[in-house]
């Protein structure tokens, strides 16, 4: 093998009959990369009766693999089909979303092919024969620039790394590829479980007071709830608060929770890990309160307070109540 392939392959993902936004974003990213390498943009969609999804990606060619076992994602069958396809098509770069499915697919593909993996990439580009990615490490506190070389590289791409709209459109062609090697798969999809009905739909609230691990204990939630109340909004939270059982899952903001766009998102005691930012970075006004001046949340907030939430929240609640009369 001499050097990397020049084509860029996007592994599209879909759930409940819809392609994920990140698939379009990756198609846009692939166009950028292929323009630089002079290669083609390719995508692959696996599914069952889902060929219409393949028609939506703005790339040169989409490979569509149809099989009942591929109707819903399960790691083993998907990994098998994708590894075979990548071996055959020999792209230089495979783009995978940094999503729940991507976290299964990308490293498995890298392992099956013996290719390097650049994970958590905000940006990716060619430099000569190498693929260079800019990744987020340490909960977003440090960035890394890393280069992969070899026959090809697998890259996981963070949400929001390219404009989705540039990736929407009819592909040059859709090619059906037969699924093979699906006997005796060792992971099998059983069911989708929808979230339980929520008391409050945080995606519909104009004001969210959002709390993170900095709140320290369940008893302290009351303090934040009072501020939310005074502002006529609702309480939401980062993942650890939900994992601790202090608030229902429906209040979680982020990658595995809800994506919110309120008029005001007030984050108190939230560090701003990439998985959290994914769910709130487009809020109209973001205010963050954190004792750590280097917390990544200050990188997306419009206004920041470097201080103790226990000092600020009660006073703020008082003043908001006064102002509201």
């Amino acid at each position: 093998m001499s050097g990397m392939g020049r084509d860029v392959l996007v592994i599209a993902e879909h759930l409940q009959g819809k392609l994920a936004d990140i698939s379009f974003e990756m198609a846009a990213k692939a166009r950028e990369l292929a323009a630089a390498s002079g290669g083609r943009t390719l995508a692959v969609v696996l599914g069952h009766g889902a060929r219409a999804l393949a028609e939506q990606l703005n790339v040169d060619a989409v490979y569509y693999v149809d099989h009942p076992v591929l109707a819903q994602f399960a790691p083993d069958p998907y990994n098998r089909v994708l590894a075979d396809l990548v071996r055959e098509k020999q792209p230089g770069v495979v783009l995978v979303g940094n999503t729940s499915m991507g976290m299964d697919v990308a490293p498995a593909l890298a392992a099956a092919l013996g290719w390097p993996l650049l994970a958590y990439c905000r940006d990716v580009r060619w430099e000569g024969d190498a693929v260079v990615g800019t990744s987020q490490l340490y909960g977003g506190k440090v960035m890394a620039e890393a280069a992969a070389s070899g026959a090809g590289a697998v890259v996981t791409v963070l949400a929001g790394s390219a404009p989705a709209d540039a990736g929407r459109g009819a592909p040059g062609s859709v090619e059906d590829v037969a699924a093979a090697g699906l006997d005796g798969v060792r992971t099998r999809f059983k069911a989708l479980i929808e979230p339980e009905a929520a008391d409050v739909d945080i995606t519909k609230e104009a004001v969210l007071v959002s709390i993170g691990r900095g709140i320290q204990s369940q008893d302290n939630l009351e303090m934040a709830a009072e501020l939310a109340d005074a502002l006529g909004g609702a309480l939401s939270a980062s993942r650890p608060i939900i994992d601790n059982g202090w608030l229902p899952k429906s209040r979680q903001v982020g990658k595995s929770g809800q994506t919110v766009k309120p008029k005001l998102y007030l984050a108190a005691g939230i560090s701003g890990a990439p998985e959290h930012l994914e769910g709130m970075r487009d809020a109209e006004l973001i205010v963050a309160i954190n004792t750590d001046p280097k917390a990544p949340i200050f990188g997306v907030a419009h206004y920041g307070v470097v201080g103790d939430l226990f000092d600020i929240l009660p006073v703020l609640t008082e003043k908001v109540r006064e102002a509201a009369g």
């Binding site: 392992a111 994970a119 490490l137 099998r188 999809f189 059983k190 502002l231 973001i286 205010v287 206004y303």
Partner: protein, 255 residues
């Protein structure tokens, strides 16, 4: 049922992280380490499975320094064995090395399930579990928030966005990347940890394994560009006044 849980020491992210002279790694002298939080969930899930089905829980770590306390704490919580992979690992190991070392160590062990954390907060790559599964030729599922076992099959819940989950059946043995246990991780009282430190033993193994990731880190740097928050200074009262004025200006507070 025999369950192995991998545990990793990672820098406490609340501390300052300084980049060292090489520009390619963090300055380890100043770092405070703690157990990767998702590994704590993996251990909790393993202990819950042991309580339900019997068997053993073994915690497995690479000796990158300062892992003993984490291993003793795991024993104090109810793990049966603690195994440390020793060697020249003071500077840390890559995901490929860790996976190769675990695969070599596991060849000598009896396991039905290997639980790793979904990802480590230092590298955020979540590669070790899938690489390990590939080396062991067993299936893997990532982003798992609950495991049930019936005979030679596990049923796991895998989390997607928006609170949607998939139920997936996995043949054992398997490697699973745990995001969250069915309940918050239990706490081991310090007195119990001390007692375990006096009585229990950490086993040491020294498998040989080499691996190359094919990735070269060129440089580390602090996030730059993007939006930088305008910092509001002053006493809590002054800060609150500014915020109220801001909320008024943006129409969030009327009047």
């Amino acid at each position: 049922m025999n369950i192995v849980v991998t545990v990793k020491q990672v820098p406490d992210l609340v501390e300052d992280l300084e980049i060292d002279q090489s520009g390619k790694a963090l300055d380890r002298d100043w770092l405070k380490f703690k157990i990767n939080e998702f590994d704590e969930h993996a251990l909790e899930e393993a202990l819950l499975l042991k309580e339900a089905h019997g068997g053993t829980v073994t915690v497995l770590a690479v000796d990158t320094g300062e892992v003993d306390e984490t291993l003793y704490t795991a024993l104090a919580k109810g793990a049966d064995r603690a195994v440390k992979i020793v060697g020249d690992f003071a500077a840390g190991v890559t995901s490929h090395q860790a996976a190769a070392l675990f695969a070599a160590a596991l060849k000598e062990m009896d396991y039905d399930l290997v639980l790793t954390g979904v990802q480590a907060v230092d590298d955020l790559d979540g590669q070790v579990g899938p690489l390990l599964a590939a080396a062991l030729r067993v299936p893997h599922v990532s982003v798992v928030t609950g495991v049930d076992v019936d005979g030679r099959v596990a049923t796991v819940r895998k989390e997607y966005a928006g609170g949607v989950m998939a139920e997936i059946e996995v043949d054992l043995p398997a490697v699973l990347g745990i995001q969250a246990a069915k309940q918050p991780p239990r706490y081991a009282p310090v007195s119990r940890v001390r007692q375990v430190m006096r009585t229990a033993r950490i086993e040491e193994v020294e498998p040989s394994a080499a691996a190359d990731a094919g990735v070269e880190v060129r440089r580390l740097f602090k996030p730059e560009g993007g939006r930088q928050a305008e910092i509001i200074e002053g006493s809590p009262e002054e800060v609150a006044d500014r915020l109220v004025a801001l909320f008024r200006e943006k129409g969030i507070l009327k009047g």
